[in-house]
Symmetry: C2
Amino acid sequence: MKLNIALLAGDGIGPEVIDQAVKVSNAVAQKFNHEIVWTSALTGAAAIDAVGEPYPDETHDICMAADAVLFGAIGHPRFDNDPKATVRPEQGLLKMRKKLGLFANVRPTFTFPSLIDNSPLKRERIEGTDLIILRELTGGIYFGERGRKDDGNTAFDTCTYTREEVQRLAKLGFEMAMARGKKLCCVDKANVLETSRLWRETVQDMEKDFPEVTVSYEFVDAVAMRLVQWPSSYDVLITENLFGDILTDEASVISGSMGLMPSSSIGVHTSLFEPIHGSYPQAAGKDIANPLATVLSAAMMFEDAFGLKEEAEVIRSVVNKSLAEGIVTEDLAGKNKAYKTSEVGDWLAKNI
Amino acid sequence: MKLNIALLAGDGIGPEVIDQAVKVSNAVAQKFNHEIVWTSALTGAAAIDAVGEPYPDETHDICMAADAVLFGAIGHPRFDNDPKATVRPEQGLLKMRKKLGLFANVRPTFTFPSLIDNSPLKRERIEGTDLIILRELTGGIYFGERGRKDDGNTAFDTCTYTREEVQRLAKLGFEMAMARGKKLCCVDKANVLETSRLWRETVQDMEKDFPEVTVSYEFVDAVAMRLVQWPSSYDVLITENLFGDILTDEASVISGSMGLMPSSSIGVHTSLFEPIHGSYPQAAGKDIANPLATVLSAAMMFEDAFGLKEEAEVIRSVVNKSLAEGIVTEDLAGKNKAYKTSEVGDWLAKNI
Ligand SMILES: CC(C)[C@H](C(=O)O)[C@@H](O)C(=O)O
Ligand SMILES: CC(C)[C@H](C(=O)O)[C@@H](O)C(=O)O
């Protein structure tokens, strides 16, 4: 099979971790007789520096022509500390999501038995956790009208959702639940927000099409509590853009394996795969960042974008092997030898 | 001193826990020669049943005439499970906040040494946690324009903030930080929202008036992570209404002492004191609910509404004594004897 993949390394540690995912993907392709055509493109601060734009048209064209996008991370402290900056890496991210129609961000949270004690939560609270948060990614308050009035003294943002947007996301959620534990939790704030009431009534209407799925409706504040108290009680959660932003980040710390969590964004035009961690600028260029989340994102890509389940499993099992044998970067090494980012990538590729 | 207090018991376990706070307050008043005039009024489902309205005008008049309001809890599952209900207990809550001008909800989170192992988080993560979240309570998306378009197929909610609203809340935050650890964290989503940018620039402008306070600006998604990872790194956090709703609930589970956490809402016309837990309908009428959060809310009321610091300390120390001696309800009793709600209240009052 021929796989056309757009490669967006981005900023900070992005290029380093992406390199390892490429090595591993190439090794898998060779083993299974696939041909991967990688096309690199600029995003984020790197793109601003090169062409003044965080998501250049050329990058968009490359993504549109690809079968899937593998993404590193974007963001640079230079912009965070400058409130007057007019062009920012994050704008590139939002533009990319909108233009590629990446309407659903899929964020699994699961535990690795060998890493469970890294969690800030007690072992007995997180054992067995295996949940997915499905975050709507191209609607809501991120993309509504916003601005100032009264000489800049009043600001406003608008959250908008259409029934179709909710249906599209919820359908994915029901389907995922059917393929897993058959439990779906719709997270909203329907006791206050009209958009949440639209979410809730739309999901309620869809229940009859998925009679095997047990659906619950929970308020976002209650979920923010229960995710810390009993994460293992959840299966699939669906929610709107801003709630999803907060809850996926909260969920990412509970397993103790943030450096290992992959994610995907499912799109109308293509799909994108990326680690959930950020660009971690303090570590950039030092060959110390943990590449496993990006490698596992590549596994998700093989499975979800190309239907290559066996290839994905091969990647996952070599990652498990590296963890078991302690071929890990400094964040996981504890008192043992820490391997370099590139060494971990080499080891994984060799053991495919 | 004569203390005029409006007493809003509300729904579920509200009346039972309020009763204990009244006993304890009366004992303190007697000891220090104060006279308390309690005036009871209806709210929540109880008010809907009696007069068809969750925050009746008569209740509002009683609150306006009082020096402080002591509140139990509102909410009833009958309404949660009926999406078509047109009158809901929560509306009473929002109306009360708006009409009393309760612009700042103050939510402390601290640990009780004897209860620290109840937390879902590991001891070493939470030891020393002592933070306050200051949530803006009468603005933002809770009170903006909302509605439907396109035959009900599009819904919208509007988040609005004025510079004055931000200043009023932030000023309280700076003052609290000055009286505590001198650290203030402004929680926003300024990389996306215009209202957040107004928050951030307003707080930045105020920094010069409080040169001793160290101010940080953090995104709400990052704070949702760090609250679980390192809660003890925070001192005072200020944030807008919806972010505050989510983060205060998340923070409430980290100390392992949710049943003990008091809160206050500071208002233009009066201030309100209430436990952070809900109406817990499953336990209503059983004389088993933990009254300590409400008793500690009464302590907050003595100190903050009436400036009676010594009286507040007496209440806090008798609560600590009850914990140390195991005079506690079933949620805290473990394998030991569980006392009834009313027995705990009687013991506290007697030991004042
Ligand atoms: C950088 C920011 C705009 C972005 C978001 O809020 O969506 C990030 O937090 C994320 O979750 O991918
Ligand atoms: C009941 C609901 C409207 C309320 C809120 O969201 O403010 C509650 O969650 C709270 O935090 O007091």
